[in-house]
């Protein structure tokens, strides 16, 4: 199948420090794909290479059917990048920023398009104020709007909600969903598991320039473990007794024992096996992406 974003063996080093180690990515048309990883994992470098801002040291990358190194112009016609740092012109007003971008993108009626976007991103009231006076959330919304002056086939969002207040973060998430519904292919990077879980069709966990794991949120969660049964006891003696029969991971501080449990059947078997040791209470934990993240990075 033809992927919209495809990389093979992508490598990149800065001053001898290897940032990307043979990265392979395949993103299908219309997919929302999240690169999840800690700071310094290589997320931003990947996005900058795909957006033609950096050249890779080795390997190939194709975006929307064109090689980013040999045909950067073709790639640029089909992408938009919203970088980590808001890419807005602080001296111009919000409306001027949008009109400028619309002219550069050859939109037939820049004024009209700017007005539409100001409304969509709730910036009408600030339209004629210089962007330097905007709040962080407003700058981010304008930044997103600037990337959407035309409908790009591929959208790169580098940590789109880092440093945003909850309201602006929700607005960003709404925008991503809407773009997906309109058919765009979206590659986003994030440090937030919740964000990847909520927005992405597939997630690649990136660590030290390599993909540590890849799949849907559900698949990744499954990789780590099933559910965990946590049993709480009244004292050390009971905890020790329970551990002898069930094994599992005891926690002396909370007087609890964690036992893997895949489904109700396992829970019943564990409780039966306890055979009379009194339980204070029990909790059942579903795996989170946090577990995945911590186990992989």
């Amino acid at each position: 199948m033809a992927y919209t974003i495809e990389t093979h063996g992508l490598t990149k080093a800065f001053k001898g420090h290897r940032v990307l180690e043979s990265l392979d990515l395949h993103v299908a048309p219309g997919e929302v794909f999240a690169l999840l990883g800690p700071n310094g994992a290589g997320k931003t470098t990947t996005v900058r290479i795909l957006a033609t801002l950096e050249s890779p040291d080795g390997g190939t990358a194709r975006v929307a059917g064109h090689d980013v190194v040999t045909q950067p112009g073709k790639v640029r016609e089909r992408i938009s990048l919203t970088a980590q740092e808001a890419a807005v012109d602080g001296v111009l007003t919000g409306a001027e920023n949008l009109r400028m971008m619309a002219r550069l993108r050859r939109v037939p009626d820049p004024r009209q398009r700017a007005a539409e976007l100001l409304e969509r991103f709730d910036l009408q009231d600030a339209a004629d104020r210089r962007v330097a006076t905007y709040s962080g959330g407003m700058r981010r919304r304008l930044d997103l709007a600037l990337g959407l002056v035309t409908q790009p086939a591929v959208i790169f969002l580098d940590e789109p909600s880092t440093g945003l207040d909850p309201r602006s973060r929700l607005a960003v998430w709404e925008a991503v969903k809407q773009l997906k519904d309109e058919g765009a292919t979206i590659l986003l990077t994030t440090q937030y598991l919740e964000e990847a879980d909520r927005l992405a069709d597939r997630i690649a966990v990136l660590n030290h320039g390599r993909i540590a794991a890849q799949g849907t949120a559900a698949e990744l969660k499954q990789r780590v473990a099933g559910e965990t049964l946590e049993l709480f006891f009244a004292d050390d003696a009971q905890l020790a007794q329970a551990q002898r029969t069930l094994r599992g991971r005891p926690d002396p501080d909370t007087l609890s024992l964690k036992v893997p449990a895949d489904g109700p059947h396992d829970v019943k078997r564990a409780l039966d096996a306890l055979d009379g040791v009194p339980i204070d209470r029990l909790e059942l934990h579903a795996p989170t992406l946090d577990d995945v993240f911590l186990s992989l990075t």
Binding site: G73, A83, A87, V88, D89, L92, E96, R103
Partner: protein, 248 residues
């Protein structure tokens, strides 16, 4: 072409909105002009018309210094994220910089007019006919364009705004080693050789000749220097703009 116009609009808006930078760019040359004519003028040429000699030199100094300021404007622009957005657009690499250069030439044309006005009040008596004036204006515009493009390269090369500022400051000294303020034959031999062959001398001599209606034997050399500066600066800037920036 359309893109360049869009960026010219952007850079002009930037110029007009940074009021203090604009005032500095326009008033500093006027101050330099007054300094030379009134403070140094009496001592340098007690009986002569030093004002007629020095005004073309000061105009070249101011045009050059103002245009060199493009380095700072470009370096400043490169530190903002918005440039990365421009670099991912399907536009000509030089368009953003064309905006800077045209705005710089516009600012400097304005300040040169002001300097000329003050010079006339201070007793400068040019004898140029309209055709000479036109040629002088053309030469000055070519000079401003050349220095602005070269300065844009330095702005792209500079690691910081401070570094770009230092380059601008250093560039401001180049006219002193030329025929701008004193005739070259008053200088010691080694210095004279440098001063005679550096671009500011034929450019200043030509401007002076045009304004005072004298023969201008170095006009072609002057134009050649400007043309070379424009071509080299324009090509270099386009290359440097696309070059990946360190630690991006």
């Amino acid at each position: 072409m359309t893109d360049s116009l869009t960026f010219v609009g952007r850079s002009l808006r930037h110029s007009v909105r940074s009021v203090d930078a604009l005032l500095t760019a326009i008033l500093l040359p006027v101050a330099i002009m007054l300094l030379f004519v009134y403070v140094f003028g009496g001592a340098l040429a007690p009986h002569g018309r030093y004002v007629d000699y020095v005004v073309p030199g000061i105009i070249v100094l101011c045009a050059g210094f103002g245009s060199a300021g493009t380095a700072v404007a470009v370096a400043q622009d490169m530190t903002t994220g918005v440039v990365d957005r421009f670099r991912t657009l399907p536009i000509s690499a030089a368009a953003v910089l064309t905006g800077h250069v045209v705005a710089s030439v516009a600012r400097n044309a304005l300040s040169t007019l002001l300097v000329l006005g003050v010079a006339l009040l201070a007793g400068f008596r040019p004898t140029a006919d309209p055709l000479n004036w036109l040629a002088a204006a053309g030469l000055l515009l070519a000079l401003m364009t050349a220095i602005s493009w070269l300065a844009a390269c330095f702005g792209l090369l500079a690691r910081s705004i401070e570094a770009a500022n230092a380059v601008t400051f250093a560039a401001a000294f180049i006219p002193y080693l030329s025929s701008a303020f004193v005739p070259v034959d008053t200088m010691p031999a080694g210095l004279r050789a440098v001063a005679t062959h550096q671009p500011v001398t034929p450019i200043t001599d030509t401007l002076r000749a045009l304004m005072l209606d004298q023969p201008a034997p170095h006009a072609l050399t002057a134009l050649a220097w400007c043309a070379a500066g424009i071509v080299a600066g324009r090509i270099g800037a386009a290359y440097l703009f696309r070059r990946p920036r360190p630690n991006g």
